[in-house]
């Protein structure tokens, strides 16, 4: 019986339950059905087999994707994944909350731009420029790590966050610095950044098209992933995990805690510098605005969603976190994505089937009823224009699209947040009852407010909400292993 095996909630006294046995047997219990079969196969695969599972689709992808799609879905995802790999070392393996991580990405990009661009007039080949970028980023990581060694988790977070902010200030203004011996050196351009950065030129191979960049980034990613995999399996990796679980006990066990912290910082920073140099040449420029908190949250979302400490999680997280918002850019696709996501969420969470059918039916009926009422008495509420496409047309006769949509959308947004919060407090029948208007309200907000800003506010809004919800529901992410904190 699974009920007896699951350990009781943490806030109750735990007497007479062997937690380890319970959790192992509970896990075996959960390996059931289709997902269980998939997981068993996955667990049985050798490491190179798991790599192939990812590598084969990645290698086939450029054969049929258009250039634009290859750039947006392929190349950028790979760069994000590479960044997330580095962050995974500091946050996932070693458990250090580094919020200045994006600055290292920026250091990599600017270093590459400084030695290989039309802006500065130097044109180093990539086989020299990229190692330099990695070395500079790693060196800065070392410098930041030194004062941070003694800091406990939260202090470290704030120092690194401040450091990330300092990087943006420096990148914006370092064109005016005078050095004692060199005189005036323009390091970073100004707010306009370094432009005209050279394309990669690796041992004579000039990487120029999107497809070539994709291959290069894929190679870089696999290389970094392999190195990090071996680092994690080594003594150092075990040291990191010990450090993450309990720094004090690790130190007592004679693990060199400070050195390992520094190493985690340096490794993470170096990976970010690598990603930065590739990104700079892809963009043919390094601009201060790119290395700000927005990207930091995106990369954190990738690592946390995939599961901190899991390499497979990084890939899946990058695909989801980069891919879904890209899909949202096109309003027609966005509609499909939104309603599909709602449908999947409902199917996955509501049992029994009767209740699911009732919820879906009631939501659809509610929409048509409201639409009919509004049509008859308040024509202003249905005066808005639906978008293009079949689904949009259908939605147009179900959803209220008022002519004064922004204002109403704003109020509906606030009410929606309140409704969702209340929903989490309710149980039983009331939850189901409130769910129906909440779904309708969510669709209303989506159609009238969010869909217009999918590139900016909506995307980041959803990422922020994702982090909170994920921490509440499944803090270990998709692929991470659940940890029991024994106090």
């Amino acid at each position: 019986m699974p009920d007896e095996l699951t350990p009781p909630p943490v806030d109750q006294p735990r007497i007479g339950v062997d937690e380890w046995v319970a959790s192992v047997e509970g896990r075996r219990d959960r390996y059931q059905g289709v997902t269980g079969a998939v997981r068993r196969v996955w667990d049985g695969l050798p490491v190179w087999g798991r790599l192939l599972v990812f590598l084969v689709p990645a290698a086939v992808f450029p054969l049929f994707a258009s250039t634009g799609n290859l750039f947006r879905y392929g190349l950028i995802t790979l760069i994000y994944a590479l960044l997330a790999l580095g962050l995974n070392i500091t946050v996932g393996f070693a458990g250090l909350l580094d919020l200045g991580y994006i600055a290292f990405f920026g250091f990599g990009a600017y270093t590459y731009g400084f030695v290989a661009s039309g802006y500065t007039g130097r044109h180093w080949p990539a086989e020299l420029a990229i190692p330099l970028a990695i070395a500079v980023a790693a060196g800065v990581g070392l410098v930041l790590g030194l004062p941070s060694r003694r800091l406990v988790g939260d202090y470290l977070a704030i120092v690194t966050l401040f450091f990330g902010q300092a990087f943006v200030v420096i990148a914006n203004n370092a064109d005016q610095i005078r050095f004692p011996f060199f005189g005036h050196v323009d390091l970073t351009g100004d707010a306009n950044g370094l432009d005209n950065i050279d394309p990669l030129n690796v041992f004579g191979w000039k990487v120029s098209t999107t497809k070539e960049y994709y291959w290069f980034a894929l190679g870089a990613f696999v290389l970094a992933m392999t190195l990090i995999y071996f680092a994690n399996e080594s003594r150092t990796g075990r040291g990191w995990r010990a450090l993450r679980e309990d720094p004090l006990s690790a130190e007592v066990m004679s693990i060199p805690v400070n050195r390992l912290k520094l190493m985690a910082f340096v490794f993470g920073a170096g990976t970010a510098g690598f990603a930065g140099s590739i990104y700079a040449s892809v963009q043919t420029g390094a601009f201060p605005g790119d290395y700000d908190v927005g990207l930091l949250i995106t990369i954190y979302a990738i690592v946390v969603l995939g599961g901190a400490g899991s390499l497979a999680g990084v890939i899946v997280g990058a695909i989801i976190v980069n891919g879904v918002p890209e899909l949202l850019r096109d309003p027609n696709q966005a509609e499909w994505v939104f309603y599909t996501a709602i449908a999947i969420a409902l199917f996955a969470t509501i049992r029994p089937w009767r209740r699911l059918a009732a919820v879906v039916g009631a939501t659809i009926a509610l929409g048509f009823a409201l639409h009919a009422i509004a049509d008859a008495w308040f024509p202003r509420w249905t005066a808005g224009q639906p978008g293009e496409g079949k689904l949009a047309h259908w939605v147009g006769s179900w959803m209220l699209l008022p002519s004064h949509r922004t204002q109403l959308g704003n109020w509906a947004y606030v009410i929606l947040i309140a409704a969702v919060l209340v929903l989490t407090l309710l149980h039983g029948i009331w939850r189901t009852v409130l769910l129906v208007p909440t779904i309708y309200l969510a669709s209303f907000v989506w159609e009238n407010l969010l869909v217009e800003q999918t590139a900016g506010a909506t995307r980041f809004l959803l990422l922020g909400a994702l982090l909170v919800v994920l921490m509440n529901v499944r803090p270990q992410g998709l692929f991470g292993t659940a940890r029991v904190e024994i106090v």
Binding site: L99, L151, G153, Q165, Y300, A457, L467, V468, M471, N472
Partner: protein
């Protein structure tokens, strides 16, 4: 040379103290929450931003700065009250839904959740209020009168900020040291488990801590907007960063420490702007340098107690 430096001194001091009072109020919220939960509440800076906006909307609801429906001082009081109430409520909601479920999770989980809340609030503000800068137009509301004593000039909003910040801090000190709930807070921050065994409703104490801390942040937001004018959706980020810096410098978890730290950060920023090379661009870097310095010399802050790690 000295005369030139001296001529700016009082102006910089006044603006530093004003800024410092704002930072001190923000720092108090950080410090109180950290003292009780050992949680770095990243969303605190954004609560401050929401406070500034709430004050703005209250002012607009009252008829705008040029011709408010009520007397100017009533308008200001109402703005403060509304912003504090709204922010306090927001703080309680954030605690209830983003932090309480994670109280027994690994240490990194609530931090990431806080990061998510911060980002959510920022972008909600961007979505609802737009990216434009808003202005309180304090001049229209209060007028341009200044007080002065010899070389020291103080504008009305500056006096208002310093005095009300002082009043709030005194009120907070009395609350924490003299009342029942204050005693419960101290007990909870000392040892949560033992406090709950003594019959203290820990959840309620934590919720009220969040309410008070967030209300202070809301007041700080209104003060900042009254003195410095412009508000926008991203303003909470830097203010939060500096508020936390102030809390760390003063010694986190200590209430007088947060006040002292706030003043120091405000003054440091103001003097850096006035005296140091390229100060107005690099002021944040100078504050950052101060933070690193303090952490290296005295990691537990000026008034903080060193943390002994026991097993």
């Amino acid at each position: 040379m000295v005369a030139v430096l001296w001529s700016k001194f009082w102006d910089l001091t006044v603006s530093g103290v004003t800024l410092g009072s704002v930072y001190a109020l923000v720092a108090l919220g950080y410090s109180m929450v950290y003292g009780i939960l050992k949680l770095l509440n990243f969303a605190h800076g954004d609560v401050y931003m929401i406070g500034a906006f709430m004050g703005f909307f209250m002012l607009r609801w009252l008829g705008g700065p040029v011709d408010p429906n009520v007397a100017a001082w009533v308008a200001v009081v109402l703005m403060f009250l509304f912003a504090m109430a709204a922010c306090g409520g927001l703080g309680v909601v954030i605690e209830r839904f983003a932090y309480r479920p994670l109280r027994n999770a690994p240490r990194i989980a609530p931090l990431i959740s806080a990061l998510g809340v911060s980002f959510f609030l920022q972008n909600s503000a961007l979505l609802l209020f737009g990216a434009a800068f808003r202005d309180y137009d304090t001049f229209d509301l209060i007028g341009g009168r200044t007080f002065h004593y010899r070389d020291i000039f103080l504008s009305v909003p500056q006096v208002l900020t310093i005095v009300s910040a002082l009043a709030l801090m005194v009120a907070l000190t009395v609350l924490v040291s003299r009342t029942r709930i204050g005693k419960a807070m101290r007990a909870t921050s000392f040892d949560r488990e033992a406090a709950s065994m003594m019959g203290i409703d820990v959840d309620r104490v934590i919720a009220s801590t969040f309410f008070i801390g967030s209300a202070l942040a809301g007041a700080a937001g209104v003060m900042f907007a009254l003195v410095f004018g412009q508000i926008y959706h991203f303003m909470g980020f830097l203010a939060g960063l500096k508020g936390f810096t102030a809390a760390v410098i003063g010694g986190i978890g200590s209430i007088p420490g947060a006040m002292l730290g706030g003043l120091l950060v405000g003054l440091a920023e103001s003097y850096a702007t006035g005296y140091l090379p390229r100060g107005s661009t690099f002021q944040n870097l100078y504050v950052f340098a101060l933070l690193i310095l303090i952490i290296l010399i005295r990691p537990s802050g000026i008034l903080g107690k060193a943390d002994v790690n026991k097993v």
